[in-house]
């Protein structure tokens, strides 16, 4: 029976690059997929594009392509296994990303590669002011603070690009598992309403989409859950058959571990109701999934199912939402906790005295209560040797946000004894909310860059 080998080359925009190169070289892959778009990445990329029309794609696109395109070219030679690359690194500008990939192929002297861009996710021009966002605001209320609106496309556009024989396919917003479902749909010829198979293929995509998070990344807890060689963590690949059953593995000799525990953590990651994992392609059902180890670092995944896809597509809307001002300072040695607590009180009082205007504020002690609050934080026993005060506030006005960090910094000469390492920062808030559009309103389009 024909099988497909699909590898995962990135779990987020800034991810390690060598594990992707290792997969491209030694994974005997048919497809290498890079998933690089977090919730607000496109909004940030759109801001970059506003200042420079060719910008707006992933900052590591060029380096990743420089490293893996030689293997795509190798796969086009007689007797070699063909390798194709799929990625959402196009972010806010897939067409410019496709041109950059062509430029790099030319620079490397690689000939005959076809690069395709998939667009259609950008629906900013289609929104109307009355539409409501999930946070209760309307599109109209955002006014000129609105930056971007991108629909989560499904596998469809990528399948079309594969059918015109593209070697590299670059997209903007596509649902993460759909990047991996597309080559399965294309190669196995599954019907677009074969919900069972689409559910299975979506499980495989979901397991692979965070790369190292299934091969032992984000898992190690020394003495409880040990993972070998995290510095050389291998990224995962799935060998899938035409029924949508898969074995998850990694390149032999790479670091990390794959077993039922790592697979289960990743299967439930970012899932709410396991019976209804919504994607643009299918309503996947992971409730019956089970894993079995068939060899060291090889796990069979089975039992996913599916039902009809949602009638609407989710749209992420990026908008400007004021500024966050922040300041930090550390206290150490005996009495550090009491001095940090005093410093916190002083800053809070100073913000009142000087009338700093903010919408929301947090003043917390890193090492004590910053992650889980005072109640859970006080479960620790003993005095911490060092404590870091952190004050952060969201302000409508940038000038007000600047004053937050300043009031922390002035603790140097006006606050308690022994403060050090003060830092301050101000950043603009690029927030993301979502809305739903009927799927008929969104049409994916495929653009081919000329092969050379």
């Amino acid at each position: 029976m024909k099988t497909l080998r699909i590898g995962s080359g990135a779990g987020y925009s800034g991810d390690r690059i060598e594990p992707a190169v290792e997969l491209a070289d030694k994974g005997a892959l048919d497809y290498l997929v890079f998933e690089c778009l977090a919730e607000r990445t496109i909004a940030l990329a759109q801001q970059a594009r506003l200042t420079h029309p060719d910008a707006g794609y992933d900052p590591l696109l060029s380096e990743r392509m420089r490293r893996v395109l030689p293997f795509v070219a190798r796969g086009r030679k007689p007797g070699q296994k063909r390798l194709r690359v799929i990625s959402n690194m196009g972010a806010a500008n897939p067409l410019s990303a496709a041109r950059e990939i062509r430029r790099i192929a030319a620079e490397l002297g690689l000939q005959g590669l076809t690069v395709a861009a998939v667009t259609g996710d950008d629906v900013l021009a289609q929104l109307n002011p009355e539409q409501l966002l999930d946070n209760g605001a309307s599109v109209g209320e955002l006014g000129d603070r609105l930056i971007s609106a991108n629909a989560y496309l499904g596998a469809e556009g990528i399948v079309e690009a594969l059918s015109v024989d593209a070697d590299v396919i670059i997209t903007g917003r596509v649902a993460d598992p759909s990047l991996f479902l597309a080559p399965q749909l294309f190669e196995f010829g599954w019907g677009q309403d074969d919900w069972e198979k689409l559910g299975r293929g979506t499980l495989i995509g979901h397991l692979l989409e965070c790369a190292g998070q299934i091969t032992g990344g984000y898992f190690a807890d020394p003495g409880v859950k040990d993972v070998p060689d995290l510095a050389r963590l291998g990224f995962p690949l799935a060998e899938v058959d035409a029924e949508g059953l898969a074995v998850i593995s990694k390149v032999a000799g790479s670091g990390g571990r794959i077993d039922t525990a790592t697979c289960t953590e990743q299967m439930i990651y970012e899932v709410h109701d396991p019976k209804a994992y919504l994607t643009p392609d299918v309503t996947a059902d992971f409730s019956g999934v089970s894993f079995s180890v068939i060899a060291p670092n090889e796990v069979r995944a089975q039992g996913a199912a599916g039902r009809a896809r949602p009638r609407t597509l989710k749209v992420s809307v990026g908008y400007l939402d004021g500024w966050i001002g922040e300041g930090q300072i550390s206290y150490g040695g005996p009495g550090a906790l009491a001095r940090a607590q005093l410093a916190r009180e002083v800053v809070q009082e100073r913000l009142k005295i000087t009338g700093v205007v903010f919408d929301d504020i947090r003043a917390e002690l890193i090492g004590v209560d910053s992650l889980h609050g005072f109640e859970l934080g006080s479960r620790a026993s003993g005095e911490p040797w060092e404590v870091r005060l952190r004050v952060a506030a969201r302000c409508a006005d940038k000038a007000e946000a600047v004053r937050i960090g300043n009031e922390v910094e002035t603790l140097y000469t006006n606050g308690p004894y022994g403060g050090g390492g003060a830092t301050k920062a101000v950043r603009q808030v690029v927030a993301v909310a979502s809305l739903l559009l009927p799927r008929e309103a969104v049409t994916p389009r495929v653009h081919l860059e000329d092969a050379s």
């Binding site: 089970s290 109640e375 506030a393």
Partner: protein
Amino acid sequence: MNVVKLRELAHSRTGDKGDTSNISVIAFKAEDYPRLVEQLTVERVTAHFAGLLDPKAGAVRRYELPNVQALNFVLPGILKGGVTRSLALDAHGKALGAALLDIDV
């Protein structure tokens, strides 16, 4: 049956979507799964995170995945303002699962 910390029986991972976290709790051994189902109730998990949850955002939900000896807790509103607007140091709430492992079972 001795009372132990959840960390001795299970492992966990936290995911985020908007202002909602989901925390998986996965038994190391299948024989401990019924104990988790019985003891890790929505009420207990809600009480554990009482200082962090937003009562207006809706109730904590629990889903059972017996095939993989796991529970999945969904905690609406715990990532106040959502990942993109949050003032929190850990805006994604990635470390929440580790806090749940300190609960007694």
